[in-house]
């Protein structure tokens, strides 16, 4: 078994890992291929453009281990779990799935929701064609390959053609045991005309447990389908987080993707949205708040692969103390993607003189009839705004809080789900050190 004294991710460890899993051959084969790719990619330098601003020297993979079985859940303090009436919920602890529920009516309509490994085995025909074949590819880089070899746990949501879920679904990914590795994978498939909202959050059971997440998110949105996906990354400040996340949208489909980045010691997220057919649209919202020595890095790409596609990305970052936030964005327009409407913007608000925000927008446009706009701003809290608020009786801290909330409001205004707005707003309050 994988132990603390050996490297957790050697060939030998991998074979032991495989032996412990009762999986169909195709899955095992896929893992083996990914493992070979992983060993190879470890020798290949990471893409400098993507990783040069991310200093991961303190990250030691061998400190984190797959958990043979999950510890008894001691209760994870989550922001969304009990806040709403959900059509279904799933919880993962230390890479193992627990507590799956799905509204019976939805199940009868053919909706699949639950543990990825079980679902992949039981519904191979429906799910296998999508699993790491179209969105996140195993050989993208060492993190995706590592994930593809060792993935455990994670949620799958499959919504058949023209089925609409009237209530959101909730997925919680938790880390509990000190030194645990989480390789969870989220796979969402909306067939043509389907509609769903999935709220996902990652959280730690306590503030002291170290951990690692090497994850992947795949969102496949069919023609005329509508997906709202929220991922609130709320690990404690000892977790390392690496993720490949990719959404693909079919003709006239729409994806609204909201990212909340609050937790982790160091995080790097590769986030792609791909607009594959005419009329596809994606809105990407980002809210991040870093404090102390946290480092959050986002590498976002909006790929316009077809005519008449729309993408709109807005990231708002607040930084405090010695924290750092990096956003590198790219809009890529293929030659055939005429009439593209692409937008990207990142605004950073710095609350200390020792934090640092890097915002680097970028455009690569091969078509000649497009509208693409990008922008990035960075600044400190305006002293005149603070003075004004204080002249109205707000304390300096309260004024700061009001200004930060207002700064995020522009993103909140884009999010139609009240629960999400409230949750993010509450998370921001907590981070500011007030509220419950």
């Amino acid at each position: 078994m994988v132990t603390a004294t050996s490297d957790s991710y050697t060939r030998e460890a991998f074979e032991t890992f495989l032996a412990g899993r009762d999986e169909p051959d195709w899955m095992t084969d896929q893992r083996r291929q990914a493992f070979e790719a992983y060993r190879g990619l470890l020798e290949t330098p990471l893409d400098l453009e993507e990783y040069k601003r991310v200093d991961a020297r303190t990250f030691r993979p061998s400190r984190y281990h797959l958990q043979e079985k999950s510890a008894d859940e001691t209760g994870v303090d989550t922001l969304m779990q009990h806040r709403a009436e959900y059509a279904g919920q799933v919880t993962h602890v230390d890479g193992h799935t627990k507590n799956v529920s799905l509204d019976l009516e939805m199940a009868e309509k053919g909706v699949l929701f639950g543990d990825l490994a079980t679902m992949l085995r039981d519904h191979e025909d429906k799910l296998r064609p999508y699993f790491m074949t179209r969105a996140v590819l195993p050989d993208a880089d060492r993190f995706s390959a590592w994930h593809a070899a060792f993935w455990t746990g994670g949620a799958v949501l499959y919504v058949p053609r023209n089925v609409a879920l009237d209530r959101p679904l909730h997925s919680l990914i938790a880390l509990q045991t000190d030194g645990a590795a989480d390789f969870s994978h989220t796979l969402v498939i909306l067939e043509d005309g389907a509609e769903a909202t999935l709220l996902e959050e990652t959280a730690s059971a306590n503030n002291d447990a170290t951990g690692m997440h090497v994850g992947a998110v795949e969102l496949l949105v069919g023609r005329n389908a509508r997906l709202r996906y929220v991922q609130l990354q709320n690990w404690n400040h000892k977790v390392y987080h690496f993720a490949h996340q990719c959404g693909r949208v079919g003709g006239n489909g729409s994806l609204q993707w909201t990212v909340g980045g609050l937790g982790s010691r160091l995080a790097h997220i590769h986030q792609d949205v791909m607009l594959d057919e005419r009329g596809a649209e994606a809105q990407v919202n980002g809210v991040t708040f870093t404090i102390e020595r946290q480092v959050l890095s986002y590498y976002t790409k909006q790929a316009h692969n077809a005519e008449d596609t729309t993408s709109d990305l807005l990231y708002k970052e607040v930084l405090r103390d010695d924290s750092r936030c990096i956003w590198r964005g790219m809009i890529r327009v293929e030659p055939e993607a005429q009439k593209t409407d692409g937008y990207q913007r990142s605004d950073a608000l710095m609350l200390s003189s020792t934090c640092r925000a890097d915002s680097i927008p970028g455009l690569e446009i091969e078509a000649d009839d497009v509208r693409c706009t990008h922008g990035a701003t960075g600044g400190r809290v305006d002293e005149e705004q603070l003075f004004y608020c204080m002249c109205r009786g707000l304390s300096r801290f309260e004024a700061m809080h009001v200004i930060v909330e207002g700064f995020f409001q522009q993103v909140f205004d884009r999010i139609p789900t009240e629960l999400v707005r409230e949750t993010l707003s509450q998370a921001v309050e907590r981070k500011l050190g007030i509220g419950d």
């Binding site: 009786g393 200004i403 909330e405």
Partner: protein, 278 residues
Amino acid sequence: MSSILKVKDLHVSVEETPILRGVDLEIKQGEIHALMGPNGSGKSTLAYALAGHPKYEITKGSIHIDDVDILELDPSGRARQGLFLAFQYPVTIPGVKVADFLRHAVSNIRNPERKEGEGLIPMREYRKELRSRMEELGMDPEFARRYLNEGFSGGEKKRMEILQLAMLQPRFALLDETDSGLDSDAVRVVSEGLNRLAGSEMGVLIITHHERLLEFNKPHFTHVMLGGRIVETGDAALAHELHANGYASVRERHPQAAQEQQQADQSKVENQEVPSGA
């Protein structure tokens, strides 16, 4: 008991440039004072220094409300003591709704001991109060849901200042050129609003170049500033005279202050670093 705002021998510098050179002023609750004077004489500096702007350094003198030493307090503490500044250029705070902002303000001013995170004033009564104050000022209730001063016209911003004045009911209100940059309709609305609010419980200092605001709010005292000092104090007739004839005669009567004023104006031209608010 009527409160009194007492400014004694106040000297204020901005980035080491002296602007105020010994201001004495007493305002009692219920009194209206007009503060006039040419550009750069120090009127706005006095207002900002009273409110506690960190850039305005008090080098000498004192400010008290009754026995409370205002200089010991930050702007928030001063506001909680009942001091209010209506800004000449109100700032925009994106994403912060007027109603939410004012609810925090009102909660703190009415309960000066309130700590952040403690209860705000109850929503129902607050809403009702806000709505009726807005109605009195002829404001669309929709304003409460807008972001503070974002996309507001000049007149809307000034009206928003008066709305805050109405909600916060300060003991002492400083109005820094609240009538500037407004068309005559807007001046009328603001003037009438102030007239309704300023009763026996409010001492008011109106900083102005114009006369309109004073027509509706007849000052008990008019002060003239020159070279960072109050050089003359009279009644409403003085304001009228200054408005009609300008400051030439004041300069003649106070040659030393006029000279200091001139020097300050020149150094400002030479040194663009001096903030325009002075």
